[in-house]
Every structure is written in C-alpha cells, then in structure tokens.
C-alpha cells in the first residue's frame, strides 16, 4: 500500500497519520498543498486533522479549493481511496466528495476526549477489520463536528449502508449520531474521530489500528 498524506498550512495530525499508515506496512509520501500531482502509484490519500488555513471562512473551505485537492478529487473519481480525518472530513464535505457539512458543536465547546464509536458497517476496506456493531474507543478533538445534511441524504446514507461509525453517546449534536460516512463506491471515508491517535500502545488505546491494518490488507501494492 502506498499512502500519500496531504499537508496544508495548519495541518497538525499529518505526521500522526503517516506513522499509523507506516505501522500498518504502508509506504508513505507527504504531499504539499501546492503540489499539482500525487506521487506515482498512490493507492490512498490521507487528508489529516488540524486547522487547514486557520479554519478561515469555514473549516476546510480554503483547503478544498487548493491545487492538491483537485488531484485528490480526480484520484477519488478514478476509484482511488481517500481517508479524511477530522479537518480532513470537513475538507471532503467541502469538496463534495462526501455529502453534508460539519457544523459548530451543538454545545459550542471544543471537545477533546475519547468516545465510544459503534462500527455501523464492516462492509468497506476501512472497516472490514471490525465486527459490525462492535464498540471501539477513539479520541475526538474538534469544535465543528456536528454532522448535518438534509433528511433525504440521511435516509440514503442509511439505505446504502454508508454510515461507517456512530457515536454511542452523541457529543456534538450530529444528526443520526453520525461520526463517519462512506462514499457511494465505499472508497472514501470521512470521520471526525481520530483512529491515528489510537494506533499505538503508547496512545493509551489501539482500537484505531485495525482500520489501517484492514486498508493495508486490501491495498496490497501489485
């Protein structure tokens, strides 16, 4: 598996994401927001957490229109894999690769804590390492993680089994307790919680590691 991790000005989980990919056996390339091409042979692009462009205008809005994001969109449209975590999820909704938007947390506070996540589907190359219905402990750290979309889209996400993770105790007001969703082809995952921050025993939990292992198992470089 060859993973590319995008670095925007203000990204702060880019190296954590790279470490998690490497621990699962991936070759990792870091790509800069001004780059106009992804490295040759990239299987998956990681869009990391942080505060790209200082969260100016809206979280992820400026990043979504950066040169590298046009390449990420092209990669996804060709059937490539994309993982967006936290700010990366916000970027993916702003690009339109995933539906909906992330609003300010309903309680207005920035929330940084470990939460329970239910694995809503194991039918994806991101979540195949978990049993559907399993509850895992993954940290969140966000101010704008309140997932919002129209009722028809919520119904479609459920009907197509595209909700990847839900909160067991909704911390931010997200509709239908949604913590992460998949694209229609199940190759783009956006999630607010940080699996890369629960990927090493030193983190205090390793429930996120199975996501990266599952990807590495599926995306074996030919």
């Amino acid at each position: 598996m060859h993973a590319a991790v995008v670095v925007f000005p203000g990204s702060n989980c880019d190296r954590d994401l790279a470490v998690a990919f490497k621990a699962a056996g991936a070759k990792v390339s870091m790509v800069w927001h001004k780059d106009t091409a992804l490295p040759e042979g990239v299987d998956i692009v990681g869009v990391p957490g942080g505060f790209s462009y200082g969260d100016y205008l809206r979280c992820g809005a400026i990043a979504a229109n950066s040169p590298i994001c046009r390449e990420v969109a092209t990669h996804a449209e060709r059937g490539g894999y994309v993982l967006g975590v936290c700010n990366g999820f916000q970027v993916l909704t702003e690009t339109g690769l995933l539906p909906g938007a992330l609003l300010r947390n309903a309680g207005l506070k920035y929330i940084c804590k470990t939460v329970g996540l239910k694995v809503a589907t194991s039918d994806s190359d991101f979540t195949s390492g978990y049993d559907a219905g399993a509850v895992i402990d993954i940290p969140i750290a966000h101010h704008d993680g309140n997932y919002f979309t129209d009722p028809d889209t919520i119904a479609a996400l459920h009907a197509q089994d595209r909700v990847a993770f839900t909160y067991t105790d909704n911390p931010n007001g997200a509709q239908a307790d949604i913590a992460g969703i998949l694209s229609a082809n199940r190759r783009v995952l956006g999630m607010m919680p940080h699996p890369e921050r629960a990927a090493d025993a030193g983190h205090g939990g390793t429930d996120g590691a199975a996501l990266f292992r599952a990807l590495a198992g599926s995306l074996v470089t030919a």
Partner: protein
C-alpha cells in the same frame, strides 16, 4: 465596483452561536429577544466590469456552503 455578500445559516440549521448570544442578551436584562441568528458579511473590491453573476459564482464555489448556508449579494 464593490459587492457586499451576506452569508447566513439556512432556516432550520441550528445556530448555536446565535443561541448563545440570545441567552447572553437575556442574562443582561434585554427582555423580549425571541431569536438571534449570526452570519457574516464579506465585502469585495472588484473590477469595474464585474457583474452580480460573477459574485454569485464566487458564493456558490467558495464564499458560502450552500448545503448549510444561504447568501445574498448587494452590488454597491
């Protein structure tokens, strides 16, 4: 030519910041504030031949997220 863009959360989208302002006003003794919605104003300094349609394209592509926000454009 200048344009002024008003961006607001759509009706029905929870505005927790507006709610917090409403509570604060009530706590300060300003009675009768039934609701507060908070948005943003963006002022653009444009070339003389810029049109309203140009500004609307900017809104659709960047200045507003039409999943959650509505906008209005004022050419001034």
């Amino acid at each position: 030519m200048k344009a002024r863009v008003h961006v607001m959360l759509k009706n029905g989208v929870l505005d927790p910041q507006g709610e917090a302002v409403r509570h604060a006003l009530g706590a300060m003794g300003f009675d009768g504030v039934k609701g507060v919605r908070q948005g943003k104003v963006i002022e653009l300094d444009l070339a003389d031949d810029a049109t309203q349609a140009d500004v609307e394209a900017m809104c659709d592509r960047l200045l507003a997220n039409t999943v959650i926000e509505s906008y209005s454009v004022e050419m001034v």
